[in-house]
C-alpha cells in the first residue's frame, strides 16, 4: 500500500504539490491525469524518493520514503519507475540493460540474472532483441525494454511517468498494450498519462490534478462520465 499524506513540494518559489492525500492499494491501477505543471509527474518522483518533499509523508508498505533511516536503494527495488525518456543505457545491449541492476543491486548470479532478463524481455515482446544495442531500436521498443528493466527487479509497485509522451503516435499502442498486460496480471500501478482512452479502460480509479491539487478522484466511469470539478470539465472538453 502506498500512502501519501499531505505532501507538499516546491521548486524554488513555485509550489508544485499543495498538500496531496492519496492511498493506493495493492493490486490497484490508478491513473493520474492533468495538464502540464499540475504536479502529477513530480508526485511519482517523490514516491520513489528521487525528489525530496517539503512537508507531509509518503509511506510504502509502512516504510516512510523520506525518513533518514530509510534505505532508499532497497526501497526502490520495490518501486519500479519508467520515465517519459526511455533512458536506455546506450553502452549496453538490451539483455545487459535488463541484467545490470539485478546483478549489482540484488546480487543475482550472471545465470540467474540472464534467465530472469530473458523472461522479462520475452514478456514485453523483445525476446528477439537480446543482443541488440538500444540505439538501434524504435522508441516503442526502447520503452518496452525500460519496462522490462524495471520489472526485472521484481517490483511490487510500478510507476509510469508519461511513458508514451515521447513516442511517435504509431508506437504508442505497443507500449500501452504492455501496460494493459501488466494491469491484467494484477500489478499495482500508478500511471501518469495523457492517454484518456487508456486511462478509462485500464484504471480502477482516476485522479485529476490541477495546479498542485488533486481536484477529483473517482472510478473512471464517474470521472469521465460525470466530472464534478469545473477545471476537470474544461480539461476533458479540451482533450476530447
Amino acid at each position: 500500500m502506498i500512502e501519501i499524506q499531505n505532501v507538499r513540494k516546491s521548486f524554488g518559489s513555485l509550489e508544485v504539490l499543495k498538500g496531496i492525500d492519496l492511498t493506493v492499494n495493492k493490486g490497484e491501477v490508478l491513473t493520474i491525469i492533468g495538464g502540464s505543471g499540475s504536479g502529477k509527474s513530480t508526485l511519482l518522483t517523490c514516491i520513489n524518493g528521487l525528489e525530496p518533499i517539503d512537508a507531509g509523508r509518503i509511506l510504502v508498505d509502512g516504510t516512510e520514503v523520506h525518513a533518514k533511516s530509510t534505505n532508499l536503494n532497497k526501497l526502490r527495488s520495490k518501486l519500479g519507475i519508467v520515465f517519459q525518456q526511455f533512458n536506455a543505457f546506450p553502452h549496453l545491449t538490451v539483455l545487459e540493460n535488463v541484467m545490470l541492476a539485478p546483478r549489482k543491486v540484488l546480487g543475482l548470479s550472471k545465470e540467474k540474472a540472464e534467465e530472469n532478463a530473458v523472461k522479462q524481455l520475452t514478456h514485453v515482446g523483445l525476446g528477439e532483441k537480446l543482443g541488440v544495442y538500444p540505439t538501434r531500436m524504435s522508441g516503442g521498443q526502447q520503452q518496452r525494454m525500460a519496462i522490462a528493466r524495471a520489472l526485472a527487479m521484481s517490483p511490487e509497485y510500478m510507476l509510469f511517468d508519461e511513458v508514451t509522451s515521447a513516442l511517435d503516435p504509431q508506437l504508442v499502442g505497443e507500449v500501452l498494450d504492455t501496460l494493459r498486460m501488466l494491469a491484467s496480471e494484477g500489478m499495482t500501478m500508478i500511471c501518469v498519462t495523457h492517454e484518456m482512452k487508456f486511462a478509462r479502460e485500464v484504471s480502477d480509479r482516476v485522479a485529476f490534478f490541477h495546479k498542485g491539487v488533486m481536484a477529483e478522484i473517482a472510478a473512471p466511469e464517474a470521472l469521465f462520465g460525470a466530472p464534478k470539478d469545473p477545471e476537470l470539465q474544461k480539461f476533458l472538453a479540451a482533450t476530447h
Binding site: N48, L50, N73, K74, R76, S77, I81, F83, Q85, N87, F89, P90, H91, L100, A101, K104, V105, L106, Y133, T135, A146, R149, A150, M153
Partner: protein, 221 residues
C-alpha cells in the same frame, strides 16, 4: 650560399641507438598516460564530490596544467623541487611533469564528456536501486570513457611529443636526448633531427591507428 653537404650515412649508422631511445620515449609516454589517467579520474571524482576543498584543489591543478608551459612543469619537477631538497632524476622529473600535464588535460576532457551524458542516465540507475557510486561506475563512467576516447588519444600523442622536453632537464636516454647528444658530437643537426622527427611521426601515427582499432573493438554501440 647553400653549400651544406648532407651526410645521411653517418646519421643512419646511429639509427639503432635512436630506436633504443624511441623505446624509452614510448615507455615514458605510456607510463605518464597511465598515471595521468588515474590522476584525472581522481581529479574528476574530487570535482564531483561537492567538497569545496577537494574541488578547489582539482580545479587549481587543471588550471595550472593547462595554462602554463609544459616545459615549466617539467622544470619545476626537476629544478624547482630540487630547491626544496627533493631531487628527482631526469627520468622521474620528466615522467612526473608530463603526468601532471596529462592529468590536467584529461580531467578537463572527462568533465566535457560528463556534460554530454544526460543526468537522466544516472537517475535511471538510481531509480533501479543503485547507489550513486554504482550508477556512476556502471552507467556514467563507460559512456564517459567512450566520449573521451578520442581526446585521450590526442593526449597520448601529445605526451609522446612532450617527452622531447626532457633534454632540458638532462634526460639523455630518450629519442630527443640521444639525438641531441649525437648532434652535439657531429653537428649533423639537420640529418639527426630529421630522422628523429620521422621516428616521432611514425610513433604518433602508430598510436593513433592503434587507438582507432581498439575503439572499433571496444565500442560496438
Amino acid at each position: 650560399m647553400f653549400s651544406y653537404t648532407f651526410h645521411w650515412n653517418q646519421a643512419l649508422k646511429a639509427l639503432p641507438q635512436m630506436l633504443d631511445g624511441a623505446l624509452v620515449t614510448l615507455q615514458v609516454a605510456l607510463l605518464s598516460m597511465v598515471i595521468g589517467l588515474a590522476l584525472a579520474l581522481a581529479l574528476t571524482a574530487c570535482r564531483l564530490s561537492g567538497n569545496r576543498i577537494l574541488g578547489g584543489f582539482a580545479t587549481a591543478w587543471v588550471e595550472i596544467a593547462r595554462n602554463t608551459p609544459a616545459l615549466f612543469q617539467i622544470y619545476m619537477a626537476h629544478f624547482g623541487l630540487g630547491n626544496f631538497g627533493i631531487h628527482l632524476s631526469p627520468y622521474t622529473a620528466l615522467l612526473a611533469g608530463i603526468a601532471f600535464n596529462n592529468a590536467g588535460y584529461l580531467a578537463e576532457n572527462f568533465r566535457g564528456a560528463l556534460k554530454a551524458i544526460p543526468d537522466t542516465q544516472a537517475r535511471a540507475g538510481r531509480s533501479l536501486g543503485m547507489t550513486s557510486v554504482q550508477a556512476f561506475r556502471y552507467i556514467v563512467l563507460p559512456q564517459m570513457l567512450r566520449i573521451a576516447f578520442l581526446p585521450v588519444t590526442n593526449q597520448m600523442v601529445w605526451a609522446i611529443l612532450m617527452t622531447s622536453l626532457g633534454v632540458t632537464v638532462g634526460m639523455n636516454t630518450d629519442l630527443a636526448g640521444i639525438t641531441q647528444e649525437l648532434n652535439a658530437r657531429s653537428f649533423r643537426t639537420f640529418e639527426f633531427f630529421a630522422i628523429a622527427a620521422v621516428i616521432y611521426y611514425l610513433i604518433a601515427k602508430a598510436v593513433t591507428l592503434g587507438a582507432r582499432l581498439l575503439a572499433a573493438r571496444m565500442f560496438r554501440y
